[in-house]
Amino acid sequence: MSAEATEKKAPVIKFLAGNEACMEGALAAGCRFFAGYPISPSSEIAEKMSGRLPKLGGKFIQMEDEIASMGAIIGASLAGAKSMTATSGPGFSLMQENIGYAMMAEVPCVVVNVMRGGPSTGNPTGPSQSDVMQCRWGTHGDHPAIVLSPNSIREAFDTTVQCFNFAEQFRTCVVLAMDEIVAHMREKIVIPAKEDIKIVNRKKPNLKPGDPYKPYEADASLIPPMMNFGEGFRYHVTGLDHDATGFPSGAPDNQEILHRRLVDKVEMHKDELFLFENHRTEDAEVLVVAYGSTSRSAKRAVEEARAQGIKAGLFRPITLFPIPEKQIALAASHAKKVVVPEMNLGQYRLEVERILGPAVPVVGVHRVNGEPIAPSLILSAIVGG
C-alpha cells in the first residue's frame, strides 16, 4: 500500500473494502488527526490510519475509550487539524456527550459509525441500520444533524470527503453512517486525481493581529468564521450556553439566539447538503425508499418488478439527515404505495410516513437478524397487496 495515493495527480485504481475507502477519503479530504478505540466492525479504519497518517505527517492516537477519542478529535480540531474518529454502535453511544459538545462549541469533526446490530453489545459482526435515529438524535438537546450513508466503495470514499467538507463549512460534527456490509465488502474503486477532489476548509475571519475576535459572531450565513488555537486570537470555548464572545451566558435571549442559530445554520443551507439518487422514479407507482447496502437489494427488486410490468422506482437518500423531504415527496408523486426496507424495525420508515402523510400507504420491510435484506423480500412487498 503506497502512502501517496491521496497525492496522485492521476486517478488510481484499487480494490478496497468500504472501511479502507473511507480512510482514503478522509486522507484525501485533508484529515491529519485520528483518535480511536478498537471496535468491530470499524477497527480497520483505525488500523489503516495508524499506518498511513504518520507517513503524511499526520497523527494517530489510540485512546483509552470512545469518550476520550471524541474529546481528542475536538481538541485537535481546535488546534487546527482536520480530525476524525471511527466506531460502531456501543462506542457511538459513548461518544454522544462529546458529539453534542462539538455541535454546541461548533468544532468541525467527523465521526464514522459503522452500524452493527444493537442495542447493547448486540451483534458485533453482523450488519444493521439500527443506529439511524441515534445518528440524528443521539446527543441530548436540540441540535443540528448532518448524516451521510454510502452504498458502494466509491461512495464510501466520496461521502467521507463530503463529511469533512460539510464539517468544515458548517462548523459542526458530521456523521458517516456506514452499514457493516458496505464497510467490509470489496469493490473496484477509481480514486480520483487530487485536483478533481473538491476540498472545503473552515472559513477564517478577516482579522489583523490585535483586532477583537468574537468566535461565535456569525454573518447572514449563520456560520461563524473560525480561528484555531495558537493563531494569535485567544478565545474561550465552552459547552455551556454562551454568547457571541464565547463566554457563558445564561441570559434567556442569548440562549434562544444560540440554539436557534445552531439548528438554523444547517436548516437554511440544507439544499446544499442533499445527496440522493433517483432510479426510475419518474413514473413510479411503487416507490422504494432505501439507503446503504439495502438500497442495492432494492434496486435489483425494482428491476425485477419492472420486468414483471410493475412501474417501480427507487429513491435513495445518501444524505439521511437533514431529510430530503421535497425530493422524497417528488419521487412519490405518482406512487400508490411506498416500500421502505431497512435493517431495523422502521426508523426511517416513520420519517417517510411523516413526509408523505396518510394518502399513500407505506410498507416496511424490516430485518433485525444480522442478515442482509434480499431483493426477493423487497420484491414481495412491491408486488404484494
Partner: protein, 270 residues
Amino acid sequence: MSMDYFQYLRKERMPHIWCPGCGHGTIMKSILRALDKLKWAKDDVVVVSGIGCSSRTPGYLDFNTLHTTHGRALSFAQGVKVANPNLKVIVISGDGDAMAIGGNHFIHACRRNMDITLIVFNNNIYGMTGGQASPTTFTGSKGTTAPYGAIEQPFDVCNMAQASGATYVARALDIDAVAMDRVILSALQNKGFSVVDAWSQCTTYFGRQNKWGDASEMMDRYKEMTYNVRLAEKMSPEEKAGKYPVGMLFQTSRPEWCEEYGKLIERVSK
C-alpha cells in the same frame, strides 16, 4: 515588587464564582506567578478544564481556553497537544472531575507522558453540585451523599499519578503559596506529564457539613494532616501514619509522547 496579575486575567469576567474562603483563587494566582516566570507567549498557552468550580478557572484567564465536558479535559487536552505540540497545555480539574468521572483518562494520560501539566484543585468534595462525597473525601468525612460519613478509602492523587507513569508529581496546600508556586513552576518546566495535587478548602460545602470551621481553621487542619516530604526521613512511622506528604514527591525522565511520535513520523515518512 508585586506582579501585575491583570495582564493574564480577563478583567471583564470578574467577579469570579468562587465562595468567600475558597482556595481556588489562591492556586490560580500561583499558576499565574509561575507563568509570569516562564514568559511563555500568551498565544501559545492553552488552558483546558472539565466541569466543576475549579474548571471555571480558564474562563478568567487570558489564554486560549477550553472548558470541556465533565471528566474529559485530559482527552481534549491531549488532542490539542498532539495536533500542535508547540502549544503549552495546562489542565485544571477538580477531584471529582479528575479522579472519578475522569479517572480512566487520568491514568492513561500519566501513562502516555505528554508534555502537559495537570493541576487538581482538590477540595475533597463536589462543590458545584452542592457537597456530595468525592473520590478524595476522607474516610469518615461527611458529604450530602455520605450523611453518616464516607465508608470508602479515598484516592491519593499523587500515588495514583506516580503508579500510572506521570514524570513529575507534587502536592501543595493553598496555605503555603511559596511551596505551591515552586511545585507548579517545576511541573510546568517538566518535559512530560506532570500532576500537582493542590489542596483547596471548600468552606461552604465541606467545612460546614463536617464542622471544620472557617477557611483559616480548615487550612490549619490540612497542615495537621500533612507533613513536609523533606522532613520525612527524620520522622518516625508513627508520626507519618495517616498523613499526606507535601512537596515534590516524584520526578523521573522518560520519553515524551509527542517527541516519540515526531521521531516515528521521521522514520516512516522517508
